[in-house]
Symmetry: D3
Subunit: 119 residues, 6 copies
Amino acid sequence: MPHPFEEFRAKRQAGNEKLLDTENLVTKRLMSLDKQAYKDAALPANIKELLALTASMVLRCNDCIDYHLETTVKMGYSREEIDEAIGIALLVGGSIVIPHARHAAESLDFLFTENQAQT
Amino acid sequence: MPHPFEEFRAKRQAGNEKLLDTENLVTKRLMSLDKQAYKDAALPANIKELLALTASMVLRCNDCIDYHLETTVKMGYSREEIDEAIGIALLVGGSIVIPHARHAAESLDFLFTENQAQT
Amino acid sequence: MPHPFEEFRAKRQAGNEKLLDTENLVTKRLMSLDKQAYKDAALPANIKELLALTASMVLRCNDCIDYHLETTVKMGYSREEIDEAIGIALLVGGSIVIPHARHAAESLDFLFTENQAQT
Amino acid sequence: MPHPFEEFRAKRQAGNEKLLDTENLVTKRLMSLDKQAYKDAALPANIKELLALTASMVLRCNDCIDYHLETTVKMGYSREEIDEAIGIALLVGGSIVIPHARHAAESLDFLFTENQAQT
Amino acid sequence: MPHPFEEFRAKRQAGNEKLLDTENLVTKRLMSLDKQAYKDAALPANIKELLALTASMVLRCNDCIDYHLETTVKMGYSREEIDEAIGIALLVGGSIVIPHARHAAESLDFLFTENQAQT
Amino acid sequence: MPHPFEEFRAKRQAGNEKLLDTENLVTKRLMSLDKQAYKDAALPANIKELLALTASMVLRCNDCIDYHLETTVKMGYSREEIDEAIGIALLVGGSIVIPHARHAAESLDFLFTENQAQT
């Protein structure tokens, strides 16, 4: 039985493909901009991912949180570093963000376990 | 096995009936206003539904999105037209709205399939 | 088979324990402040819980709504009183809050049934 | 020279009159519901005003905050009680609410001074 | 002395020019997408502007509201039609949107007066 | 005549002092947590300020944006780096964030001019 995070991955990829099938110019361009925005430039890519994770936490979007948790773990941030970004999000966004911090903690357990298994 | 959209319909109707059982004046009046607001007036009903769909997208409420997708499809908007309203919502609301656009795309697949089957 | 509200309780408690395991100072202090803030002071604890319930409704966080519904029922508010707080939240937050009012009505049915069974 | 709070009062009243001139059914009915919702019922009017104040704080609307500060002061809440409602709003809504708590503190200074002058 | 709406126009244009001076790729591309998105396509441009106005109302951004009020008036919508879009925004977004509806009513008085003077 | 940013600084400091006068435990503790959270730890202080800036942008709070612009400039970020953080906020939060990006660009002009004058 797949872990909820693996289901999220599959559902997200299928959804994005479906979304790009719609031939809508604005949607296509926003999604391509979303791909290009997180590259190394004046700020390194990993910091941009951490910025997007914090933004996703205060805006309370679990799918967005999970995606940026995956990228920040891939880019080498430690659990302690990611937890500090989550702490800033909790402080800025308040106790209403706590359920999303609980969700993030579960996803991080999965991602760091998967990470170790791969090394 | 029912499609998720059919489960949404059933759950929404049961929930609204339960809500109207509560005898709360403010809730009852807000819900009756919600019924009256989308009728033809200076603006035709179908445009009002498209406005509510876009508002539901930028406010990121999947149940609200699904309900207004159903009404906009019923009222005869094409997939291309609804996708353009979704594109405006993505632009105004940003990439945080993308997961809701993925959700909307799945619901639209169901609604247009159901629509064709009925004709 | 457990009621969805019982699953919420179990998941919430497990999640909070996991969250407190993270040793992040900001998270720990925000969560301890969250425990202390709802005690009797100039305002009685039950009114503070009703304030937090209304805030959770307009901010549209079901987990937060369920938690404060449980505390307000425990503290002795009647269904009519809680429904009026929900009505205020619907008026302030608009029809986008209706799906959360439907969710709250289901949770309240469970909580008041459980409450009677215990007396 | 009028105090900013007095300017808010004048501007709000003129704006509401203008708004009611627009002959729009939905706007008229929502505004009349807004007048009726805060009357004594299962919950006393003063608690409903405190709920709306907290909701206005977490939704970060200064005009809404000022209006409900005025009503809560008129209804006899002490500075300490109102400050506790603001504290709950800060905790639930996070540090992003602090600028609105600063605004509320200024408005409360004016309102309690005005209140004493009238007694 | 310029009308507040004229000051908004001047400040907005100066701000956009400054923003485009920053040479930031993401900002530049988002702003160019913002220009292209509102052209006639499956949906006519005027309906897209009405969608963006409603989205701006429920997201409570006065600058965004003023900009889309200007475009919807330019595109020939009547006061009654625009007021209905505002009514939908009030219903979906709740009483927290009322201060923005007051702001919109003032802007509309200016825009329709200016419009008549030009004909 | 003071620059708007200098007026913001003075008003913010006066407001925080007033806020801390209120003797409210929750407010005092949240504000002290707000001071402690941005210190060097697993993440350096400057990255935390950049996270808070991005969160303030997507949550659309100009006072919060100005405060974190001031700290990020003080901590040595270049205009290009801060503009990239703003770009991420625009992408995540959408075109509704553009007015706040315009505000940020004006504040940054002031802050970098002030910075050069001091060196």
